[in-house]
Symmetry: C2
């Protein structure tokens, strides 16, 4: 197993190719590291100027005042062998090679990459890349990618064979309060391969869920073996791109990856307990679910809805995905029957017929969460629905029949009630160890997907549509069933 | 065919049950109509107070100073027969019955609904509902629903058998600049049925695309017949909920609709040229695509991407949905070969290898749009990508090496360049009559999905993910093929 500790936990860093030209990689990495809160030493390396962003620059790695733990290389492909020799001369064994123009760029690059890999292997040098968009470790605020995206700290770690797909996922994570542990743009994987990162993250105590975007694998067998081990400890979610002929041809020209038959891949992944995703959106939703929620013990879903139509749509989605909506057990039925109007739905989904009545939806939530009849609960339209009430108030205010002060009060009231409801959902998940999925249906654009409460094991994931929630629940159930089978 | 003109184009309105209690339906409808910009006369009707929101109230419809074109009823179910008699006495023939507690609420309600329907039929009264969330006609700014959502004017009209699903779609439309024509919450369809609205919208010159959310149909055969006629003139997009046993049981308790076999439905819908959706998100994406973009003549897609991974994902999605990525024709190849670095992808997708170089992506866009080899073009990551550049500038600014003034300038510059690119896309769509789908991939939350330019037939729809764009393109191709088959 490769030891990647110095890559993720360096005490000191050098950036070769450092520059104040802000639209170059030597500036991206340097500014991201400096501005991102990394606490170790950071050395710009360049021959072009004496200082970079106010820091004294060294002309080469040989001139560094101390041998650093990790070197980022951003200079052109023709220079990297010399930089590697400089690293070796200072006993530096860990490198992130941003530089492109290797095997992804044709025959000449392929020859150069082989020389780089041979040199690294011969001198015991670990290389991330080449042609990588960089790495992140939120634990020490080491943000070292080209896109300057800085998601918050959390348990989801990402291995991406594509820089732009990786950036996309991290940008979403940042925007939605989805916590990230480590990120690796694995690039051409000349020295350290996808499987090595996976093996490392398997052991990483800061990582609770692993996301992998792959276009091709050099050693598919080893990857599957590691997956089979890792999935016993933490969920592994994989998006394999290049599934089709068109896709694999595109992948071949992109990372040079040779795609195998996707059916073979997919069946091997599933047999290894991997959760298979189709696209980056899936990756984001699935990782949030697996990182935040308890696993369901079975496939029986209780649905509470503020409106009938959403209940119908959710029931369809559940059944189409192999989840079932059992009838309400007698105790839940009696409880709800005593509270709801006489024409209530008398079944699952429980339709609150448009009444955002707090006592009602709280009691329904308590009853459904506590019931042994359900392995998971989906709640449609309670979270977010206060926004309609605010809209009503705003209208009446514009007409001159309500005050801005009242609106501010109402906003505070609703925000407090919603936060309280989310806290209750967390408490219920902690108590009953079953996932509860609130779906906001009409979210405001600035809403975050993940809501966390200090000191709690579980977090709330707020979905915008029933189909997203049901999709995640199905995959949670699949993984839960896999674990049950493996342990028996 | 039912004449619904007075429902959508009333010169005068009365709201029965008008109240200043802002969380009651009598206030929702009245404030929405008054604050929404409706230019006709509006009369509150109530016995409880002499004025409502500053307007003199009438005690009953009989007391109105003039017979209005349209009456909204929000009073309890037991009162509606009397109100209908009042309407008849003033020769008022058009009613929107918000009131619930009818067939959706059990046997007693069913009896009452029958009485209402019989009275309406006997007296030639048109009723929207009962149990409707209201109607909208943007042409005359008649916003008369309970949720106070006010999407902008446009060509998409909606018939929804569920109020909350309808609200959800309209709220999204409002947020994403998706233009709406008419909206009908059809409720229990006691008198006017889904098919009647469809027939009316078929003839409506303000409607270019029709969305339908249905849980059940009383006369499926007539619905299909109307669809078959309408789809020759404009796209009809249908979400049929209650596809599964669980879903149809939920639907039965919701609208009382008896669901038929979904397979029968789906095949009849497809044979009638209907575009079939699975969930409300589909409805929104599909309606924007059909309302904004030219139809593709075939299934050959050209892809331009800022990053390799997105290209791979898009190629997979295309092939999995029956679309093809033909090789680049010689003229396009030569053009791009003269501009791109020697290691470019030399194929379709055209990978701009991370260079957001304006000349490059413009030339690629011109060449792909003009080429006879492609029926549609997908462009990944150009729109939206400037945001990464702004992020870079912000970082350097925080470090003290760039100014806020420069940032403001840069923001203006990028916004201008992006708007210009979107204008170019519109021009190219007008010129070549083929859809061009930009995908922003990393959108900001406040981004709008639809970009329009005054005086142009087509609009740009900006998707957030490749899979959304490919999904819409597939359905456009399906409809285009259907029309070709029908016309031959």
């Amino acid at each position: 197993m490769k030891n990647l500790d110095k890559i993720f936990y360096p005490r000191s860093i050098a950036v070769v190719g450092a520059t104040e030209n802000k639209f170059k990689w030597g500036s991206f990495i340097l500014t991201n590291v400096l501005d991102g809160g990394f606490q170790g030493s950071v050395y710009p390396v360049t021959r072009s100027s004496a200082t970079v962003y106010g820091r004294n620059a060294c002309a080469s790695v040989r001139d560094l005042p101390q041998p650093v733990d990790l070197v980022f290389i951003t200079t052109p492909a023709v220079t990297v062998l010399e930089v590697l020799r400089d690293c070796a001369s200072r006993n530096i064994k860990d490198v992130v090679m941003i530089t492109s123009g290797f095997s992804e760029a044709g025959d000449e690059g392929r020859v150069l990459e082989k020389a780089v890999v041979d040199y690294a292997d011969g001198n015991g040098i670990n290389i991330v890349g080449p042609n990588t968009m960089g790495i992140v470790n939120t634990a020490n605020r080491l943000y070292a990618t080209g896109t300057l995206v800085r998601p918050m700290k959390g348990g989801i770690s990402i291995i991406a064979q594509s820089g732009n797909v990786g950036s996309q996922i991290m940008e979403w994570a940042e925007r939605q309060n989805v916590g990230i542990g480590k990120f690796i743009g694995s690039g051409n994987e000349g020295v350290i391969r996808c499987e090595d990162y996976l093996e490392y993250l398997d052991r990483d105590k800061d990582t609770s869920v692993i996301l992998v975007y792959i276009e091709g694998l050099d050693d598919g067998r080893r990857f599957m073996e590691i997956c089979r081990q890792t999935t016993l400890r933490k969920p592994v979610i994989v998006l394999k791109a290049g599934r089709t002929l068109a896709g694999s041809q595109a992948a071949a020209s992109h990372t040079g990856a040779m795609a195998g038959s996707y059916r073979t891949y997919e069946s091997a992944l599933r047999q290894s307990g991997v959760i298979v995703a189709q696209n980056p959106t899936d990756l984001l939703y699935l990782s949030s679910a697996f990182d935040s929620l308890p696993l369901p013990r079975g496939n029986r879903v209780g649905v509470i809805t503020l409106g009938g139509g959403w209940g119908v749509i959710t029931a369809d989605e559940c059944e189409e995905r192999g989840l079932v909506l059992p009838p309400l057990p007698p105790d839940v039925y009696r409880k709800l029957d005593s509270m709801l109007p006489p024409f209530w739905s008398r079944g699952n989904p429980v339709d609150l017929v448009g009444q955002p009545d707090r006592k009602l939806y709280l009691e329904a939530t308590y009853a459904m969460a506590a019931s042994e009849a359900f392995d998971a609960v989906i709640i449609l339209g309670i979270v977010g629905s206060a926004k309609f009430a605010l809209r009503i108030h705003e209208t009446v205010m514009r007409m001159g029949y309500a005050s801005r002060e009242d609106l501010v009060e109402l906003e505070k009231l609703f925000a407090g009630l919603q936060a309280n409801f989310l806290d209750i959902i967390i408490d219920l998940m902690e108590k009953y160890r079953k996932p509860i999925y609130p779906v906001s249906v009409v979210p405001w654009p600035d809403d975050k997907m993940v809501y966390a409460k200090e000191g709690k094991r579980y977090k709330v994931v707020i979905h915008k549509t029933p189909e997203e929630a049901v999709f995640c629940l199905e995959r949670q159930f699949e993984y839960s069933s896999y674990l049950k089978k493996r342990s028996s």
